[in-house]
Symmetry: C2
Subunit: 273 residues, 2 copies
């Protein structure tokens, strides 16, 4: 089963388009968790156990594991392996390099870590993204319009043809989509552009939408503007506001409660029966 | 000593602006080297031993280590540690994410791996690069115009103000340079634009120039167009054509001979006494 099929199946089973970001941050761990790699592992596994029937995907961000060096990579592999087989894993890595090198990044993400999908940076163009797209069963999320404040600096530059750079990235990326595995990243902090991009790319492209929660994006608007006509393929990612809502022994319950709150809105907005 | 001072000192000592890329590829290892991590480590250390008085820097590309997972990261840390203290290490990682996340990437590169410099991707704008630039003693190489064939796809799009995107990136990155640690990446396959960019950014910005060797960039032209008026700060990176020139027991001698050939041209073109 390819990434998109696995994603839709998980979303239908759990009636949810919520993706939980698994980003371990020692400074934010709840007080009962030991500030160590083993404590972090237990924490992440507890979060997975309590949320796995409420999500369509998990998204570990590589940076939060790389900070721990080699042991962090072992932790990342262990966490990906721990996630139930029917929940897809999007590795947030924002990789991209010349073709010969991107091949190695793709091997690290897909052959070694066994992720189902990855985020990639389009600045270097097609030959840097192709080695990822060549993995037909994997989902390749191209950064389009990101959720951070300075995303406008280059992404919203108008080109001579009157389109903005991010729109040119979306249009161009569509021409790369030979294996029906292209996906996009569009921040929840840009709801209008999200709606326009959904129109532009059509209803078959999964869009990962970070920025709801700590970054302030609007959930309902992101769903309405990001989903296709069937209410599908708008993957709402939330990381910090799920993981670190509980500060004490209640952290698992609070994480689940926050997911339930988000999923309840989703079910209502998208009419997920 | 900050990165730029360390770089200039190494270049002056070795009379060389050559950077050797340390990119282990099992398929290309010379026949006497065991195709394993320990074989790779011995190979890289032998290359370092035989070239360390001919270079101004080494540049391991993270992807080639990440393909081996956690053990690859241990190898990368070991190789960085093995490089003599007076030769700066540029970690080629092309990282970039929202601020909170870029902080973790910077910690991985500088606190854990102890690299002297890193390559970063500008697509997400200033707040994604700032956590790297905040390390005052480290060099931050922003991708500007890359050496790969499809670099033109977005980087050479004309903006409304008649500049191309890569030029806008260079101009904008200059405004971020509060700590005198901004550097750029400009491919050797674009020698004319390299010359224009050197004019644009002035004589104090180190430029990393990949693409001489396997990718076909011209060494002499890259030096003439990339160096400042003192013949400095054009860092010529060569990876495959140094590492994998020798196929048999002569691989160390052949790697050194190829470095000598390149450095000899450099000394002549740049009048390095």
């Amino acid at each position: 089963m390819n990434f998109k099929a696995k994603l839709i199946k998980a979303a239908n089973t759990n009636k949810s388009w919520l993706c939980v970001g698994l980003d371990p941050d020692l400074d934010k761990l709840p007080s009962p968790v030991t500030k160590s790699l083993s404590g972090t592992e237990e924490f992440l596994k507890a979060i997975i156990d309590s949320t796995k029937n409420l999500v369509c995907a998990y998204k570990p961000n590589s940076a939060f594991y790389e900070q721990f060096g080699a042991e962090g990579i072992t932790l990342l592999k262990g966490i990906i392996n721990y996630i139930p087989d029917d929940i897809p894993v999007i590795l947030d890595a924002k990789r991209g390099d010349i073709g010969n090198t991107s091949k190695m990044y793709a091997a690290a993400a897909f052959d070694y870590l066994r992720a189902d999908a990855i985020t990639v940076n389009p600045y270097m163009g097609h030959d840097c993204v192709k080695p990822f797209l060549d993995y037909q069963d994997k989902g390749i999320f191209v950064l389009c319009l990101t959720s951070n404040p300075s995303s406008s600096e280059f992404q919203k530059q108008y080109l001579k043809n009157q389109t903005m750079l991010y729109e040119q990235v979306a249009r161009t990326a569509l021409t790369w989509n030979k294996n029906d595995n292209l996906c996009l990243v569009v921040g929840a902090t840009k709801p209008e552009e999200l709606g326009e991009l959904r129109q532009l790319v059509g209803g078959d492209i999964p869009i990962l939408i970070p920025g709801v929660g700590a970054q302030g994006g609007d959930l309902e608007l992101s769903l309405r503007n990001g989903a296709n006509s069937k209410g599908e393929l708008a993957i709402i990612n939330v990381s910090r506001s799920v993981l670190y809502t509980g500060k004490d022994n209640d952290y698992v319950d609070k994480a689940r409660a926050e997911c339930l709150r988000l999923v309840s809105t989703m079910r209502s907005v998208l009419n997920l029966a």
